[in-house]
């Protein structure tokens, strides 16, 4: 044992390595991404790691490994679980041989997601047991426990984290390499009565799963991490208690230090719910406040248990509106909720009224090629009836003023279908779908096939920056690199599109604005499904060119450079535009649109 300062996601990764994990796969998504990256960085020889093309494929790859008796970890964010839900729902009916842990990172807030969905609900829906760590230390320890549990009961197991657990750091106790678990792998054993899903098998296994989960509720009541912290001190006889789990547990523990040691129930396995332990907690309580993020999972379970056993205990939380139903909990919100519940008035320090602060919405980086791509389409289609369907990635930020080039955004790959639907209803509109290179491979290809087959009229714009930028630059099938460090043949986006049957496929560097706008105009004149691939690497992956400068003598202060493209490197000072040399990468987009040619390189006076 030794101590290390680790991010929660790193703790999950190292915990999996300590558990002897044989295969790790997943698809990037905040806040889950660092788990797989950390495994790859510390990869033992026995372990195979891949970024899969999407979460569905990852789940299937992991299932295959677990069928073969290997230990597999599959990682994704909560939205990714929607993509992987098809194999997961079925997999629970089939079960596994080797341990399969499904790491899903939820995003209360949400901070960087489209939904505030709760993987604990997926656990109940899919009947897959769920472990819910509160700290980085617990995440590290629970991975190994989850693998053992998965193998013992032949079921996939969720390890569900939330942003503050995934991205929080702590100095934690970890095993030395000599203490890691090892095991032998049997390999896949043919048995069609076990591995082939049929209605009859599903019916039989459904009964077994329900019986097993009833048993597991009892087993998990004895799991040490489902724990009751008794009331003590001044409020030892208080007949009020609180139930919590995940990061909210840590907030509640600190609130207890301040408000008094009330009885607290920590739920570490929200599914199957530890019913016996809950009954023990409810004993002697009149009222219980549930402190949890996302859905009221613990609250519903306790209400159910009170109903089932005829208990008079009142259960409060999100359903009763004692706690707000959306958004992240915080150290302060949990303290305030608990104080109100206990009838304690807390004296808060006087807070000064803050001056008006600048809003800082996320924007495309200075020099981002997506800005040039959006600007080219905007210019080429000016005055035409258009709709711009966006997608998930950095380029969602193309919605910000002044670009304002994202009319819709739903989920990964959805822009393709939405553009087709709008086009079928309103044929006069030129429908664009913008999709990034990683998203293209993850979930846009079927949308293109659909468009070609069903005779849609649309323009697909692939914003190819040769990486998965938003989540921190992961490789994908188009990059020719794998997480095992191999250089492989890149899958060609042009080749895929031509193979599907597109006749108009043009590749352009968006920083060449003339060529880019010409390509868009040509595409708009053609019938059917057209594709433009704007290819220029993400600025975070290339050496910046020399920063541009603005000649203060020539600049007329017209603000055109600011109004048109919204580059974060350009601001106004004393009525003249100015470029922040520490941000500018010299893309030249602004120079092309200055009416007095005041922007340039070293030849420009400062």
């Amino acid at each position: 044992m030794h101590r290390e300062f680790l991010m929660g996601n790193e703790a999950v990764a190292l915990g999996a390595i300590a558990a002897g994990v044989d295969l790790v796969c997943g698809y990037p998504g905040t806040p889950s991404t660092e788990v797989l990256e950390t495994v790859a960085k510390h990869r033992p020889e026995r372990t195979y790691v891949e970024w899969s093309v999407n979460e569905k494929t990852a789940m299937e790859v992991a299932a295959g490994a677990a069928y073969s008796g290997a230990r597999a970890l599959v990682t994704m964010k909560q939205m990714g679980l929607n993509v992987a839900s098809d194999p997961l729902m079925c997999l629970e009916y089939i079960g596994v041989k080797g341990g399969l842990v499904v790491l899903v990172a939820d995003d209360p807030g949400p901070i960087s997601s489209q939904t505030e969905q709760d993987t604990r609900c997926y656990a109940g829906f899919s009947k897959v047991p769920c472990f819910d760590p509160s700290t980085a230390q617990e995440a590290y320890d629970m991975v190994r426990e989850a693998f053992d549990f998965s193998e013992k009961y032949s079921t996939p197991v969720f390890l569900r984290t939330t942003t503050r657990v995934s991205h929080g750091y702590a100095s934690i106790e970890v095993l030395d390499a000599g203490e890691y678990a090892g095991h032998c792998i049997e390999g896949f054993c043919r048995d069609s009565s076990r591995w082939v899903i049929f209605p009859r098998l599903s019916y039989q296994n459904h009964q077994k799963i329900v019986a097993r989960n009833e048993e597991l509720s009892g087993v998990l009541s004895g799991y040490e991490r489902n724990r009751i912290y008794p009331a003590s001190g001044a409020i030892a006889n208080c007949r009020k208690g609180a139930a919590t789990g995940g990061i909210s547990f840590t907030y509640a523990m600190e609130a207890r230090q301040e408000l008094g040691e009330l009885k607290l129930f920590k739920v570490s396995t929200p599914y199957p719910f530890p019913e016996k332990k809950a009954l023990e907690f409810l004993e002697g309580l009149d009222e219980v406040l549930c402190l949890e993020e996302l859905d009221p999972v613990i609250e519903r379970e306790l209400i159910y248990i009170c109903g089932k056993y005829g208990l008079k205990t009142k259960i409060y939380g999100k359903l009763s509106r004692h706690v707000r139903c959306a958004g992240e909990n915080s150290r302060d919100s949990v303290r305030d909720d608990l104080a109100a519940f206990l009838g304690i008035t807390i004296e808060k320090p006087m807070q000064p009224e803050l001056p008006k602060l600048p809003v800082r919405p996320p924007v495309l980086c200075a020099g981002c090629p997506h800005r040039a791509s959006f600007y080219a389409v905007k210019k080429a289609m000016a005055g035409k009836k258009t709709v711009f369907c966006g997608d998930i990635g950095c380029y969602t930020l193309g919605n910000a003023m002044p670009l304002d080039m994202v009319d819709t955004c739903l989920c990964m790959g959805a822009g393709l279908g939405i553009a087709q639907g709008i086009g079928h209803i309103d044929p006069d509109t030129v429908c664009f779908a913008f999709v990034g290179d990683s998203t293209f491979f993850a979930s846009a290809i079927t949308g293109v096939v659909n468009a070609v087959y069903n005779q849609a009229e649309m323009i697909l714009v692939v914003l190819d920056n040769s990486t998965t930028a938003m989540t921190g630059h992961q490789p994908h099938p188009g990059t020719g690199k794998t997480m095992m460090g191999q250089a492989v043949d890149a899958v060609s986006i042009e080749g895929v599109l031509r193979g599907i049957g597109l006749r108009f496929v043009e590749t352009v560097n968006p920083l060449d604005q003339q060529a880019a706008t010409d390509a868009v105009r040509r595409a708009a004149e053609q019938p059917g499904v057209k594709a433009i691939i704007f290819r220029s690497p993400c600025i975070a992956l290339t050496r910046p060119e020399k920063a541009l400068r603005i000649d203060g003598e020539k600049c007329i202060g017209c603000r055109r450079c600011i109004r048109e493209i919204g580059c974060p490197a350009i601001s106004m000072r004393d009525g003249r535009a100015e470029i922040d040399g520490s941000q500018c990468v010299g893309c030249g987009l602004c120079a092309g649109l200055c009416p007095v040619r005041a922007i340039g390189g070293e030849d420009v006076a400062e």
Binding site: R3, F5, T30, P31, I111, S112, T135, R164, H167, G168, Y169, A170, S171, I247, F249, T250, Y251, M253, E254, Q257, S330, R331, D332, R335, K348, P349, Q351, P352, L354, P355, K356, L357, P358, V359, R360, P361, P362, V363, L364, C365, C394, L397, A400, M401, P402, M470, T471, I562, R563, G566, C567, P568, I570, S571, M572, R573, S582
Partner: protein, 184 residues
Amino acid sequence: MLASKLISAAAMEKGMPVMSAETIGMAQRGGSVFSHLRIGEGVFSPMIPLGGADLIIGFEPGEAVRMLPYLKTDGQMVVSARPVMPVTAALSGGYDGAAMVDFLRGQVKRLVVVDTEAAIAEVGSAKALNIILLGVAARTGAIGVTAAELEQAMLKKVAPRFHELNRRALACGEAIWRAAESGR
């Protein structure tokens, strides 16, 4: 982020438990970025409550104001004076960084304002600004680790080719602190 890593490493070296949390993801595209750091026993969560921070190191005056509600009544603040304009401010005509610094002067008794341009010029790299501010913070005594301990942590955590730059940055921070003290 590097600043909080160095403080953590120095604190762990002394056997103190450390927790921290930072913003990652969408927030890195020009949004507000913060890092909470908590050192010592009895801490369960990586997040600091409002009014609970002993020290705020602000890399931008507006962002320091945004985080001010987290500072203890008698807490210490070290802030870089140079504003960073968001695109929204550029579109609407800018915001006044100096007004933010003035506001902080009126609110925070224990405040060191760092002349960003001068400090960067002295050290020779804008990239070392965080370490300069850390150097100031170390001298305030509000971190619980000394400047020497931070330097040791830096030597372990940072690639050797950056050692000299970071040493200069820490020393620059110390000089700024001394100047601020003598001006008091």
